[in-house]
């Protein structure tokens, strides 16, 4: 129980950091300090935080363009993340990647990818490499339910099953692929059913309880690590914001969003922590330290230098 308390406190801080970080980035976006696309994870934090708590440092993480959370969880500093959004050379991709392309080689964060589903084979490749080397590593691949209809997803799933790759596919089903609801984009309501066609293990759950997410993903990670078998997970979640900052989200009612906020992973974690005896003062202390970290990262991003013109072609070739 004490272990769970400490673990949940850590996961709670990660979730709060992601939310405050993204709120700050939304503000900076509206001030014109961040360009391009900005896809927010707000509401979905329980998914990545719970899932990645089941991993070891040697494991690999691959995700979509909605990638801020995964980088922050893996250990990329808030400074490097915010600086990347600001397009600064101190960013985690030197200002060349932006919001959609966070990379952190040291923390085995293999990136955020902008082509829907195109990254799923990449994750299977990282798992392939771990199996080839016999190093016991596992790859975790996040994608939305919008990826479940594209060929790269189906091919990666088929090959991972055929070759018994140590990978966990996590479909972050937030019920909308951009503005299209699940009912109009998929012929099945449960994305994990896609595993049946390739004979893969599957699981499906919602992400309101971050510890439960960790426990369920841990089962799949163990299967990958010990038996070298893949799993497809459908993780039900919900984003409170639009698909990106340019999406007002008019395809949903305010009532629907308010209803979903009742199972907010951060609120749930607070309730659990209080039940474990964590005081309001302790929670307040965590929130204050997160706010200081986010304020610091925005200042750092603003004060950092732009990348030099010499970087335009510098990374064409190794």
């Amino acid at each position: 129980m004490q272990d769970d308390r400490e673990l949940l406190l850590g996961l709670y801080r990660q979730m709060v950091l992601i939310r405050r970080f993204e709120e700050a980035s939304a503000k900076a976006y509206s001030q014109g300090k961040i360009g391009g696309f900005l896809h927010l994870y707000i509401g979905q934090e329980g998914c990545a935080v719970g899932a990645l708590a089941a991993l070891e440092a040697k494991d690999y993480v691959v995700t979509t363009y909605r990638d801020h959370a995964q980088a922050l969880i893996r250990g990329t500093s808030a400074r490097a993340c915010m600086a990347e959004l600001f397009g600064k050379v101190t960013g985690c991709s030197k200002g060349l990647g932006g919001s959609m392309h966070f990379f952190d080689a040291d923390n085995h964060m293999l990136g955020g990818y902008g082509i829907v589903g195109g990254h799923v084979p990449i994750a299977a490749g990282a798992a392939f490499a771990s199996k080839y080397r016999g190093d016991g590593g596992v790859a975790v691949c996040f994608f939305g339910e919008g990826s479940a209809t594209i060929g790269a997803f189906s091919e990666a799933l088929a090959l991972a099953a055929l070759w018994k790759l140590p990978i966990v596919f996590i479909c972050e089903n937030n019920e909308y692929s951009m503005g299209t609801p699940l009912s109009r984009s998929l012929s099945v309501a449960d994305v994990s059913q896609k595993a049946l066609a390739v004979g893969m293990e599957r699981d499906a759950f919602s992400c309101g309880d971050v510890l439960a997410v960790r426990d369920r993903v841990a089962v799949a990670v163990k299967r990958a690590r010990e038996q070298s078998l893949p799993t497809l997970i459908e993780a039900r979640t919900y984003r409170y914001r639009g698909h990106s900052m340019s999406d007002p989200g008019k395809y949903r009612t305010p009532d629907e969003i308010e209803e979903r906020k009742k199972s907010d992973p951060i609120l749930n974690a607070e309730t659990q922590l209080r039940a474990m005896g964590v005081s309001d003062a302790e929670l307040e202390k965590i929130n204050a330290s997160v706010e200081a970290e986010v304020e610091d990262c925005v200042r750092f991003a603003e004060e950092s230098a732009e990348p030099d013109e010499s970087l335009i072609e510098a990374f064409n070739y190794a």
């Binding site: 902008g114 195109g118 084979p121 990449i122 490499a129 080839y132 080397r133 510098a314 070739y317």
Partner: protein, 325 residues
């Protein structure tokens, strides 16, 4: 020196590199048990086992992406496309991932991978199986493109590609697989971006790559009896492209014909022409002409197929045209 066939030279290079580097493996359709659709990988499965010679199902985007992911974290894959035509369904993996990962990660990742297979028209393989695909790929910053025309280059370029830390695309040719040629002894590794003068001449420069080299040499030989003296340059590598060897030659001859199998619209041939006219404008005595594949999809009929891609006869006509200015 030993005499090998082109496919044997490719195979020998792969086998030698697999011996020296445990991270190298080959993956593709029919590369293992079937021994390769064109027998390039014949015998490799028996020698290296299923861990390193991997038969894939028909899923080019899937296995190309898997190989890219494996390369990102330290392996050195060789991906065979049964033909480059089929790479079109994996194009996004090469364009959006292999070519861009280093740049969009701010230099944190490298992608040491080889994509290879036969390219261009074979013998009456018709509309969908006859593309000269190098024209698409050579445009992409982040990849390198080799076009081995000779047996020695087949081996030396394959070794260079496997040892390089970037995505390298090797466009082989079904009609060259049986070609015999001399291969130097020892560990010869090709350089990227080095064109080679394959025949010296005085009156006109012919620049080409891949299998068209042999049509150009044939035309030059025919012209040697009383016609203009042709200097034939094999570009060998389209990205990086060594145009300087061509510029030097044009400074001597004053005339240039660029010959390629692929379509006339844009592409590496037009790129070469652009570079030469900028750097040797004062040396040109005639407009640069191109002798290219026709602006059409490939017909099945043999006569029409032969008329669609350049041969010695059309090269000769282009040389005569450039000499008439």
């Amino acid at each position: 020196m030993r005499e090998l066939r082109y496919r044997e030279a490719l195979r020998e290079a792969m086998a030698e590199e697999m011996e020296r580097d445990e991270r190298v493996f080959i993956m593709g359709e029919e590369v293992g048990h079937y021994q390769g659709a064109y027998k390039v990988t014949e015998g490799l499965l028996a020698r290296f086992g299923e861990r390193r010679v991997i038969d894939t199902p028909i899923a080019e985007e899937g296995f190309a992406g898997i190989a890219i992911g494996a390369a990102m974290v330290g392996l050195r894959p060789i991906v065979e496309f049964m033909t480059w035509n089929f790479s079109a369904v994996a194009f996004d993996q090469i364009l959006s991932n292999a070519a861009k990962l280093r740049q969009m990660s701010g230099g944190q990742f490298k992608v040491p991978i080889v994509f290879r297979g036969p390219n261009g028209a074979a013998k009456q393989t018709a509309s969908q199986h006859s593309h000269a695909m190098e024209t698409f790929y050579a445009q992409i910053p982040g990849v390198k493109v080799f076009m081995p025309a000779t047996v020695a280059d087949a081996k030396a370029m394959m070794k260079a590609a496997i040892r390089d830390d970037n995505p390298v695309l090797i466009f082989e040719d079904e009609r060259l697989y049986g070609l015999k040629g001399e291969v130097p002894d020892g560990d010869v590794v090709a350089e990227f971006g080095v064109s080679q003068v394959r025949r010296e001449g005085e009156d006109v420069t012919i620049a080409t790559w891949g299998k068209m080299l042999w049509q150009c040499l044939d035309a030059a030989e025919q012209l040697a009896k009383g016609g203009p003296s042709c200097e034939v340059i094999d570009l060998r590598s389209l990205r990086p492209m060594d145009h300087e060897t061509v510029v030097r030659s044009v400074r001597k001859t004053g005339r240039l014909v660029v010959v390629h199998e692929t379509w006339p619209y844009g592409g590496p041939g037009a790129e070469l022409v652009d570079r030469v006219q900028r750097e040797a404008f004062d040396a040109l005595d005639a407009p640069v002409l191109r002798c290219t594949g026709r602006d059409a999809s490939m017909a099945y009929n043999k006569k029409l197929e032969d008329l669609t891609i350049p041969d010695a006869k059309t090269v000769l006509a282009a040389v005569r045209a450039v000499m008439s200015y």
